[in-house]
Amino acid sequence: MKRDPALVSAIATLWLALGVFVLYPFARLLQVTFFADGYFSLASLERVFTNWYDRAAVFNSLQLAFAVALAGVLLGFIFAFAVTRMNLPKPTKWFLGAVPVLPLISPPFTSSIAITLALGPNGMFFRWFGLPEFTIYGFWGTWLSETLTVFPVAFLTLSAVLAAIDPNLEDASLSLGRSRLGTFASVTLPLTTPGLANAFLLLFASSLADFATPLVLAGHSFPVLPTQAYLQITGLHDLRGGASLSFILLIPALIVYFLQRYWIGEKSYVTISGKSGPRTGIRSLGLAPEVGVMTVCLLVSVFILFLYAIIFLGSLVKVWGVDYRPTFEHYEYVFNRGMKAIKDTILIALVATPIGAILGTAFGYITSRMRFPGRRFMEFTALLNYALPGTVVGISYVIAFNTGPLVLTGTMAIIVAAYVFRYDATGIRSTVASLQQIDLSLEEASLSLGESAFGTFRKVTLPLIIPAVTAGMKFLFIRAMTAISATIFLISVHWTLLTTRILECMTELQFAQASAFSVVLILIVFAASGLISLMFRLAYPRYSR
């Protein structure tokens, strides 16, 4: 399969798209940060490090990300261990697997609203337990909320790693005379190390990039980089200052991205060999450790459900903490005053999802099945916007598309583009992963039977990777409905989003309305992802298990 013209033009099209929506904004961001009046200058970066408040933001961001990643990995490991390595009844496993999914698909404010209602001023916890008032705003509140929001990512990656460890290895250790706990410490845990490191980096990056939680919970005493950059731009109209802050935010994010790709990628011990001897059953670690694990899991699960219950109940009573009479007035508000946001959000998600699916599949297929110069760089670029904090992407889009050759400010296109090039990453990754499972000889068999390269893709490859494509679409749709960090910079009077409406309610202390918006958003997301799965099942009945 040498250069055929179709491939060359496909590659050119993809590079053009990446050039306009990934590389160009990135370059403009660097330009604004490092060039003043046409000359190279470090003045704007210097300002960040001389201003004590900005310096605090740098320090706080790193400290918070470290603490969140540590706690999140620990919690994620405990959940993953319970689900994959303990003999639990099926419903319990299902419950422990399902609860962490809730924060994954919820809008970013959900846990911060609930934590404010539960632990904030007038919070019910303090009344119930007669505790002395203390302020949730600052490090601890942000840490708690972010940990609960991001630990599911650690849970998912670590369960995959733990499930893939061959129990025969543990049996081998036991038969060589190690105790069960000793085996855990000397076999299971070391085999999980690359997975743990990977999860840590993932959580570190998400906490670093998180914008919504600190905006609600961090307060003035605990500035962090994403919110500082946002306030710099929206509050002080200082584009250069915002750009410099987001440049500083970008550095650790890029380091994490590189570590993940080139360090962790090579260290994984867990491989799927396709050779499966008889798998032995799960060996218990002993009563005391298992009781400990279960206690943590149940407490955290109950707390998460409790937070969701608060959001739901909070949207149905007059004023939380003061007047508990039931009412629908907040929903009336949502459907009257918020209807435009609902419609806009759904429309944007509906437009972004298919475009992202097509682009994601194209990037995944071309970078993993074709050989051409710059292939690795294309893959890197295609995943770059996802690796960068949303704030950085948002600010670079503002800089790039406000002025210059391509002006998109205020259009729907700019929001759609931000979502497509940021959130097709899952589609790309799952397409690549599923192509790696598909033996090349399948495609060769089709070619050898006389089918053209394109026909082979359509008739053989696509039907086999369609589950991966669907997973990517679902993720993109959910993110397009719930994301805020990049798009908060891109909304306009013409196009507004549900998440920014929630933020407005929060800043005006309309907690009940914010809760009602959140409930509506969660329901839409549930319905939509159910619908995507259903459509997939109808279109490809053979995959229904």
Partner: protein
């Protein structure tokens, strides 16, 4: 059905870019001709370049130098789908999302045949490979042997000018493999399709091929019928790779038109050879295990090092003049057997000897 075509490769080379910028020569200036209707095996250890040649004939790899011809047509730049070849893969490569019928009909649909023609052809070929009633099964519901038949049927039904086999039996168990060898050979005879078969299993090559091409390190070591290759190997590599061989270093004593006299094992042998040799040349004497018999009273003195009863035959390792030799007694039940440590004499049949340089 389309007429069978010859396949030839001329001065064919393939160089891959290895890791770290190193160039790897997989196929080095190979020229071959395969006649129409012939069943030819490319045989060699892994990495010898046999699969690369096959993939260049199929169109999955482009030659670095040289030509591939199918019939009289030079096909170097033709994509696989435009070549009149069909390949049977080692992994079978059955489409997991299609059932047996759809898998076999896949190529026929591309030819735009009418549905009833397709149905009839698929039915016929399913009968031929003994797979009636399995049309609606999906590949993962089939046993390895059945999957193998479907893969064969899918290629056969296309009635290609050339059939290509890439180690198709290596995933089957030993008994099934022997059965499928016969089946493939029988069907190939019936259809008379030119076939190129890649394998590293010499028994497979011996039992199926009209001719065998033995390859090593990217070059052809020998081309010949199974008999020729076994009896008169062209090199030490071929002698060693095909069957079992005792390779004994020896020296040419005298050369005359009929036979060449070489000395080895403390005696001398008169061997027929086509090699041009001078007295004093060192050569390798090739002695197949079945060419040696044991005797109690006369011959070359030797000691039994090991003696193993294998049921149908007795396996010996004997030592004589510092050489370890393998030999096989095909009928141990009929006469005396020897145990390790016993002193014996060897008798070597002179007309079964062969020498290589």
């Amino acid at each position: 059905m389309s007429a069978s075509k010859s396949v030839s490769v001329k001065n064919l080379s393939k160089i891959f870019d290895g890791s770290g910028g190193k160039k790897v020569t997989a196929v080095n200036n190979v020229s071959l001709t395969i006649n129409p209707g012939e069943f030819v095996t490319l045989l060699g250890p892994s990495g010898c370049g046999k699969t690369t040649i096959l993939r260049m004939v199929a169109g999955f790899e482009t030659p670095t130098a040289g030509d591939v011809l199918i019939g009289d047509e030079r096909v170097n730049t033709l994509t696989p789908d435009r070549r009149d070849t069909a390949m049977v893969f080692q992994s079978y490569a059955l489409f997991p999302h299609l059932n047996v019928f759809e898998n076999i009909a896949y190529g026929l649909k591309i030819k735009k045949l009418k549905p009833d023609v397709i149905r009839a052809k698929v039915k016929e070929i399913l009968g031929l490979v003994d797979l009636h009633d399995l049309e609606t099964r999906s590949p993962n519901q089939l046993s390895g042997g059945q999957q193998q038949r479907v893969a064969l049927a899918r290629a056969l039904v296309m009635e290609p000018s050339v059939l290509l086999f890439d180690e198709p039996l290596s995933n089957l168990d030993a008994k099934l493999r022997i059965h499928m060898r016969r089946e493939i050979r029988k069907i190939q005879h019936q259809f008379g399709i030119t076939s190129i078969y890649v394998t590293h299993d010499q028994a497979e090559a011996m039992s199926m091929s009209d001719r065998i091409i033995v390859m090593n390190k990217g070059v052809v070591e020998q081309v010949g019928t199974p008999r020729e290759i076994y009896a008169t190997p062209a090199s030490q590599f071929v002698a060693d790779f095909i069957g079992t061989a005792n390779i004994i270093p020896s020296q040419v004593v005298a050369v005359n038109s009929e036979r060449t006299e070489v000395s080895a094992l403390g005696t001398s042998f008169h061997v027929k050879t086509s090699l041009s040799l001078q007295p004093g040349d060192t050569v390798k004497l090739i002695v197949r295990p079945e060419a040696i018999t044991l005797s109690c009273d006369a011959g070359i003195p030797a000691t039994i090092s090991s003696s193993v009863f294998m049921g149908a035959y007795q396996d010996y390792v004997i030592s004589s003049h510092g050489q370890n030799l393998l030999l096989v007694d095909a009928d141990p039940a009929n006469h005396q057997t020897f145990e390790a440590g016993e002193q014996v004499f060897l008798v070597i049949a002179p007309n079964k000897l062969h020498i290589v340089k």
